[in-house]
Amino acid sequence: MKSSQENHHVMEYKTLIGILCMLLILTAITIGASMIDLGKLNVWIALFIASSKCSLVVLFFMHLKYENRVIKLSFVVTLFCVAILIGFIFWDIAFR
Amino acid sequence: MNGITNPLKNVDQAFIYIIGFSLVLLMFITALMIVFVFKYRRSKHPEPSDIRGNWLLETAWTIIPTVIALSMFYIGWSAYIGLRDVPPGAIEIDVFAQQFSWIVVYPNDKEIENEIVVPQGKPVKINLTSEDVLHSLFIPAFRVKVDAVKGLTSYVWFYPDKKGEYMFHCTEYCGIAHSEMNGVLRVIPENDYEQWLEEEE
C-alpha cells in the first residue's frame, strides 16, 4: 500500500468562511445588477459574476489552486472546449 | 448570354481540380508503397537502416499539403459563392416539400406538384421550405442542393441554359417513400413558358 500522504492541503475554516462571504456578496451583486436595465450588457455582467463565483468555488472549495498541473491544465482545456462549442455555433446562428 | 456565368462550370472545375490532385497523390503514395515493399523485402535487404526522422522532410510534407489544401478550399469556396449569389432578375418560384411530394407555386399562384417548369436562359431562384420533416431538393444536372426545413426558408438558384428534362430528388431522408419523392424539371423556351404560366390546370 502506497501511503496517501501526498501533501494534502488543508483549507483553514477562516478562509472557507471568507470565500462563502464573498460568494454571498457576489450573489447579492448579481441580483442587484439584474434590477438595472443595461440592455445586452446585463447578460455579460451576469455571466462575468457567475464566472467569478465559479472560480472561487473551483479554486478554493474544490482545491484546484493546490492541485497538480495535470488537473489544472485539463480543467482549462475543458473550459476552452466549452467556449469553442458555444462560440462556434454562432458562426451559424449570428449570420443566418 | 446576358452576362451570367453558369455556376455549374465552376463547380465542375473544382471537382476536376480536387479529384485530379487527389489521384496524382494517391498514385504516388501507392507506387511508393509497392516499390518499397518489393525493393526492401527482407530476402533482398536484410539489414535495415536506422532512420528515425528527417526534420526537413517532415516540415516539407506538412507545409506543401497545407498549401495544396488551402488552394482546394479556395476553389471550392469560390464555386460555392457562385451557387449562392443570385443574379438580379431571377424568376422566383416557391417550393413546399412535404411527405412525400413537392408543391411548386409560381408568382401568379399557379400550383403544380412534382414538376418545375422554367424558361430557358433565365436564372431561376427556388425558395424552399418544408411542411413537416426535413427534405432536401437536389437537382443533379445543376449541381444544386438545399435542405427544406420547417420554419426556415432556404434557396437555390440555377441557370438553365439548355432545353431539356432533368430529374430532381429528395436527398434528406424523410420516411417510407423517401425514394419516391422525385420530380421533373422541364426547361422550355421562354415563349412557351409564358404561355404555360397562363394556362389553367
Partner: protein, 199 residues
Amino acid sequence: MKTTHSDTKGSRLGMWLFLYTEILLFTGLFILYAAYLKKYPIDFIEGGKELSLFFGAVNTVILLISSFAVAASVTAIRKQSAKLSAGLIAAAVMIGGVFLFNKYIEWGQKIHHGIYPNAPDLVNGPPGKNIFFGLYYVITGLHGLHIIIGMILLCVCVFMILTNRIHEGNDGVLENCGLYWHLVDIIWIFIFPLLYLIV
C-alpha cells in the same frame, strides 16, 4: 497478488475527468440556451420575469452554504474531527433536501399556472416562451437529478465517516464526493442568472 493501490491523486484525477463530462453535458443545454436567447431575446426576458426570484435566490444562497459545509467537512476530517465532518456533510444533505423542496413548490406553482411542457398556454403562446420554459424544465430537472445523486453520495460519506472508513489519511472518497457536490453548485451558479435574472 494485484497490488491494491490507494493512489488518491489518481482517483481524484479520475473524478475530475468525470466532472468534465458533466460540465460538457450541461454545456449541451447551455448551447441551446445561448442559441435561443439570440433568437428570442424578448420572450426570454418575459419568461425570466415569470420565474420566482425569491425561490431562485434562496436556492442559490443555500446551495452556496451547503457547498461551504462540504468544503469545511474536508478540512474537519483532515484536522481529525470526524464528528464535525459528518455533521457538516449531514447539514449539506439537509440543505440539498430543502433545495429540492423549494424546487418542488416552484414547479408545482408553475404547473398550477398552466406552465408545463406541451401545455396549451405555452404551445399557443409566443414560440420563444415555450422554448424558455422547455429549457427551464429540462435544465432544472436535470440539475435536480444531480442534486439527488449528490445527496446519495454524501449520505454514503456520512455513513463511512461514522463507521471510520473515511478518516484522516484516507479521505479520498469524501473529497471526490465533495467535488461532485461543488460541481452541482457551480452549475446552479450559472443557471440562476441565466434563467431567473435575465432582463
